[in-house]
């Protein structure tokens, strides 16, 4: 590490603090925006990704999870009769009305599952188990939506679609991408809550587990050949389809992605400006170095080392700040995710961003006329 690079960076503590603040601000902005994007993307397909199913059978034309249109129970039996199917469970998703204890009505998404089946069950349960919904009218809701749904504790009574329901437990961090929170109920009750009680509209999805040793993709193809009026996807396919719908065919995802890209652009601009200002402060010294015969590569090294050092230090501070923001987001409506892959990616991004930003300064330094050293 060049002594000059280190000293130029650290000698003026105030300037260094300003530079670091700029970089930290930019990085936190990028981390939060990308974290939000990642959070939203993951949220849209959470129920699919946690289903533990290999294959999803959906009504023909359903493009994403939140529009689970019901179909005949016969399809379920056809699935069960297909060779290679290890397990199949009916699964409900439908919108319904939730009447709070204070009388206000909220829109919710009912998720009907079979407790103990291991397929499509809720996760992250807090002081509860999936069996709690087996109680007469028990439902599970997420802690994030306590206020919205007007409930505080296990045992609180509400109405769903004119049927009585009772909060049997809470989940943690299962958010809905729409404004309608997920409410988990046993499958039979979910039909009542959503007024689906005929055999012709008995289930929104069939979740399938392939028998041991059966390739899910081959089973998918086999199901596609045997079943009509439904679509068959592997879990990964349906998850991607749902994420793609929300992120790219509605304005929501594009808005978040655009914000993330804007964060990146603003970040580069902020870092470029701070590094450029620091370079201009030392421009006469770079002129002196050139007069002394320093090669351009020597000057580049000084500037790039400053940029890399700024990037790494800025990244370290930004990571701490972002960690607190991510923690705070866990209690809010919008989740910000910061997986390890993104954390490492941000380090690379921080360094590349700072080097990229230093290019403006490098160009400036390259153009310095060393004759400036003889001018006043």
């Amino acid at each position: 590490m060049s002594l000059l690079a280190r000293r130029n960076l650290f000698h003026d503590k105030v300037r260094f603090a300003v530079t670091l603040t700029g970089i930290v601000f930019a990085l936190v902005l990028i981390i939060v925006q990308f974290g939000l994007f990642l959070g939203f993307t993951t949220t849209t397909s959470n129920n699919i990704d946690h289903s533990k199913a290999d294959i999803w059978v959906v009504f023909h034309g359903v493009g994403y999870f939140d529009t689970g249109k019901s179909f005949s129970e016969r399809k379920y039996y056809q699935v069960l009769a297909t060779p290679g199917v290890g397990q199949a469970e009916k699964y409900m998703q439908a919108f319904a009305f939730w009447k709070r204890p204070d009388g206000r009505v909220e829109n919710i998404q009912i998720i009907g599952f079979h407790p103990g089946s291991g397929l499509g069950e809720p996760w992250n349960l807090v002081k509860a188990s999936v069996w709690d919904v087996m109680e007469e009218d028990g439902v599970l809701v997420d802690e994030v939506y306590k206020k919205k749904l007007g409930v505080e504790k296990v045992g609180d009574r509400v109405e769903i679609g004119d049927h009585r329901a009772r909060v049997a437990g809470f989940t943690q961090g299962i958010r809905s991408f729409t404004t309608s929170p997920f409410v988990y109920a046993k499958f039979k009750n979910s039909l009542d809550y959503t007024r689906r009680d005929s055999n012709e509209a008995s289930t929104a999805y069939v979740l399938v587990k392939a028998a041991t040793g059966v390739d899910p993709r081959l089973l998918r193809d086999r199901l596609r050949q045997r079943l009509t009026d439904v679509d068959v996807y592997t879990t990964a396919e349906f998850s991607a389809k749902t994420r793609f719908y929300w992120m790219f065919t509605t304005g929501a995802g594009m808005a978040v992605l655009t914000a993330a890209l804007m964060g990146l652009i603003v970040g580069v601009a902020v870092v470029a400006q701070t590094i450029y200002a620091a370079t201009m402060d030392h421009i006469r010294e770079y002129g002196t170095l050139k007069a002394m015969g320093a090669k351009n590569s020597y000057l580049y090294r000084v500037l790039i080392e400053q940029a890399v050092l700024s990037g790494v230090l800025g990244y370290a501070v930004a990571l701490i700040v972002a960690h607190f923001i991510v923690k705070a987001s866990e209690k809010g409506g919008a989740v910000i995710l910061m997986p390890w892959s993104m954390t490492l990616g941000m380090l690379v991004l921080a360094v590349v961003m700072c080097i990229g930003a230093a290019m403006v300064s490098i160009h400036k330094v390259t153009k310095i006329d060393p004759a400036m050293v003889f001018r006043g």
Binding site: S2, L3, T288, L289, K290, M292, G293, A294, P370
Partner: protein
């Protein structure tokens, strides 16, 4: 007969018909016109002349910082005019040391680090570089200030560090741009004596631009420039120029009478 310093020494700078023209057409300015100059190793040459006479332009061309519009320049026997632009930094690094009027020290580095930096630029690093830099700083009387930053040094001390920095690479040519202009009389005398002593010790040819009459007695040659041409060359010994202190006294009296 007294031997003139530099006589018999190899010629390190040989300039022939150097011409420098800035701009063109109506804005054309002839900063140097047909300058011929030879400087030998160990010789202290003073460049004098009024403002705008071309002193700094000539110094910049000799330092390979500016290119002449016309003419031929040889440094240490190497033809500079025909070298590619990318070759000039190597020549500056290997052959030339600079001392500037404004010191041009690096404010974020200590005195010792400023000198080490000149070696770092030449690719010389490590404990040896540090030792050499500190030894030279001791030579210039800055042994007590190795770890001081430029902001904590007086003008004279800064210039001494700058001289150590210029000489640390053992350059055969030392170019100084009014090194005493920003200094009081005591510091000015110390600096010029130091420059003369160290340059001779290192065998460097020194070319110094100056307006300062106090330093004339230290020069081996005085070259007067006017309107970009060499108007004359003088030998301070032959001219009978008084010593630094005498000039200082006259200047001081003149100043008191004026006020």
């Amino acid at each position: 007969m007294k031997r003139v310093r530099g006589e018999g020494e190899p010629t390190v700078i040989r300039a022939k018909n150097l011409t420098k023209i800035y701009g063109e057409g109506a804005t054309e300015l002839r900063a140097l016109v047909g300058v011929d100059l030879e400087v030998r190793a160990g010789e202290l040459t003073l460049l004098m002349g009024p403002s705008g006479s071309g002193k700094t332009t000539l110094l910049s061309i000799l330092g390979c910082i500016l290119r002449a519009t016309d003419g031929r320049l040889e440094l240490l026997g190497e033809e500079v005019s025909s070298l590619a632009e990318s070759e000039l930094p190597r020549l500056r690094r290997d052959a030339i040391g600079f001392v500037f009027q404004g010191f041009n020290l690096f404010p974020t580095l200590t005195a010792a680090e400023n000198v080490v930096l000149a070696l770092d630029v030449r690719g010389i690093r490590g404990a040896g570089a540090r030792k050499k830099a500190e030894s030279l700083l001791v030579d210039v009387g800055m042994g007590e200030k190795l770890r001081s930053f430029p902001a904590d040094l007086s003008g004279g001390q800064k210039q001494r560090v700058a001289i150590a920095r210029a000489l640390v690479g053992d350059p055969p040519i030392l170019l100084a741009d009014e090194p005493t202009a920003a200094l009081d009389s005591t510091s000015g005398k110390t600096v010029i004596e130091l420059l003369q002593r160290l340059a001779r010790m290192h065998g460097s040819a020194v070319v110094m631009v100056t307006h300062d009459p106090r330093v004339l007695s230290f020069g081996d040659r005085i070259i007067n420039l006017e309107d970009g041409r060499i108007a004359g060359e003088e030998n301070p010994t032959a001219m009978g120029i008084p010593e630094f202190a005498a000039v200082e006294a006259v200047a001081s009296t003149h100043s008191q009478v004026s006020s």
